[in-house]
Subunit: 358 residues, 2 copies
Amino acid sequence: MSRQKPRLARIADALGVSTATVSNALSGKGRVSPELAERIRATAAELGYVPSVAGRALRTGRSGVLGLVLADISNPLFPKLAQAIENSAAKVGYGILIADSHGDVTAQTQAIERLIERGVDGMIVVPRRGTWVTGASCPVAVIDSPSTPGNTVAADHWSGGQGLGLHLYSLGHKHVLLLGNSTASNVQNDRLGGVKAGLGSAKVETIWIEKLEAQSGQGCSLGLAEAVARGVTAIAAISDLVALRALTELQRAGIAVPEDVSVTGFDDLIWSSVITPGLTTMRMDVATIADIAIAAVLDAINQPHVAGSRGTDGDTVIASQPKVPMELVVRQSTGPARKSAYPNDNKTDNLTAGELIQ
Amino acid sequence: MSRQKPRLARIADALGVSTATVSNALSGKGRVSPELAERIRATAAELGYVPSVAGRALRTGRSGVLGLVLADISNPLFPKLAQAIENSAAKVGYGILIADSHGDVTAQTQAIERLIERGVDGMIVVPRRGTWVTGASCPVAVIDSPSTPGNTVAADHWSGGQGLGLHLYSLGHKHVLLLGNSTASNVQNDRLGGVKAGLGSAKVETIWIEKLEAQSGQGCSLGLAEAVARGVTAIAAISDLVALRALTELQRAGIAVPEDVSVTGFDDLIWSSVITPGLTTMRMDVATIADIAIAAVLDAINQPHVAGSRGTDGDTVIASQPKVPMELVVRQSTGPARKSAYPNDNKTDNLTAGELIQ
DNA sequence: CGTTACCGGTTAAACGATTAATCACCTGCA
DNA sequence: TGCAGGTGATTAATCGTTTAACCGGTAACG
């Protein structure tokens, strides 16, 4: 059955009507009698008609494809985000073309250019911190941080941090260590700022890992055992990845989580639930974020045309709801603050040691 | 400067030549005098000409886009793979359209259909184990496992496993626990089969997690402490994710890695290097795999047309080199097998406990 | 009864690039 | 001089869809 792939004309011929009528019937736009429309749909389905995107794109000037550019695809959060965006886009009939920007600005610009050449109708960009989206001649939605200018939509990192802070505070933690990577990131500042706010009067220290590693070398110890020794009862990490690093460093040092110290992360990555103890973390609602971002871009695309600039001059699109709440996921890595100092008193600790075995 | 986006005709007008000549000059195909070609290229660049993919696609029947369908985008290995494939495709001027198949077969079929409708020239599929690629009317490359029929290219999981087994064996491990998820996966069977082969005469036990969890519930203990107690000195996990689960379960139980037991994974995921101890693992060469897969698909696309079936009937494409070697990454999670039994002898163990502090 | 409005379609012109066919011109050779 | 052959460019058809414009016919309306 090697029939040629049917075009509009073939199904028009089969029914003795014009291609225009078929087009109208299938798109439901023009004026076609209901019964004819039905017959057309039927034969279209029967013949296995698949519209040619190329033909349509050429005529309408729309490709039906959006670009997704990510600062660094190897970011562990990317899979969930890509999945969510692809789903949201598919729901409204759009495809997603991916582009990796390897983290640096020139590559990001090139990636954006490639997408433009491919004729995307719009783009979703998750930029590298600090970098700026530039020179896109189509609507662009930016997913970064609510406190970043030009941001379209993002998780409410600050409130999320606050929720985590409150969680720890309500467990009685009065001395908390914060683990960040870089002070240059809005997302990170938002998150840790929120945590501090949630912790209220508790004592707070902060370690910036990038700075630490610049001195002590990549992958160096974070000195968590010492921190616990000087009274820290909880560690709030900027991400699950950092939390994991902290958790294993603590466990390796024989410090029990959560009995001796609680640990929290951010992102709810895939492994957070399979490790022991399960990681208490703050999850972002990627599905909602994706929906909003896609909707915002589509709005801009379908805008008759903004009065002023004709070129849609690379301005990033704005969304109805820029902040999306995060969700606290409580697992086993957080618990009540220990009362006793550590590890100076090695007597009652035996009962935690006992728990270790179970 | 809101000039209309220049078409071929505009640059033709600017030089007083025909569009055909411009097209020929830019593509280097027809006969154009060198100097005129140069002038054309110059003004094209000056005017910022960007060819319309829609127009070209309509005429040539090629979209310049490949589809990438993944069983489950949230697979932690996906970022690296997607990145590699996007890179390889970009090198040869192709774009990558993503599609998520949510793991189940119907969704996978739908995803493939969506890609076809979008007019992709070919596809790369990383199928869910067991599922079969069906009904694609374009060249398809499958990345799964060398032992899967229809596979185009994949990492040599068996040899990789063997390498891991040899590594452990050379460290003196004579009693090894293998951790798999499901016996239904070719990849997993290849990997563990290879490990066994590499371990030679060593004693080997295997735990299939899916089976275990069916009895004892999701996220249950894997009983690793007991395994160590009965003499296991090394644990080879089917993936880094499982290795991580094992590592934290061990650490939580106060068992030192690698002093008391060595742990290995597969994949070299992003976190493998940041945890303590760093995970010894087997990395697949995603870049090479991507290159080969892309090349195979492109070959099929550019094939004048296979003598027989006109429809390129969904047969998966074959590659020049179906197996790509894996690379052993040795970190701190593996070490010499302990000599003494465990934990029956709790005397010399103090020295490992001493090491814990450092 | 004449004018208007609508209804269910058809015609034909784009959209932008590629490419086979054609053509004018020049050179070389008999 | 006449003809074959090559060169550098043009002409025009084509890909498949959308859509503004048009059209004959009928019903409504003043």
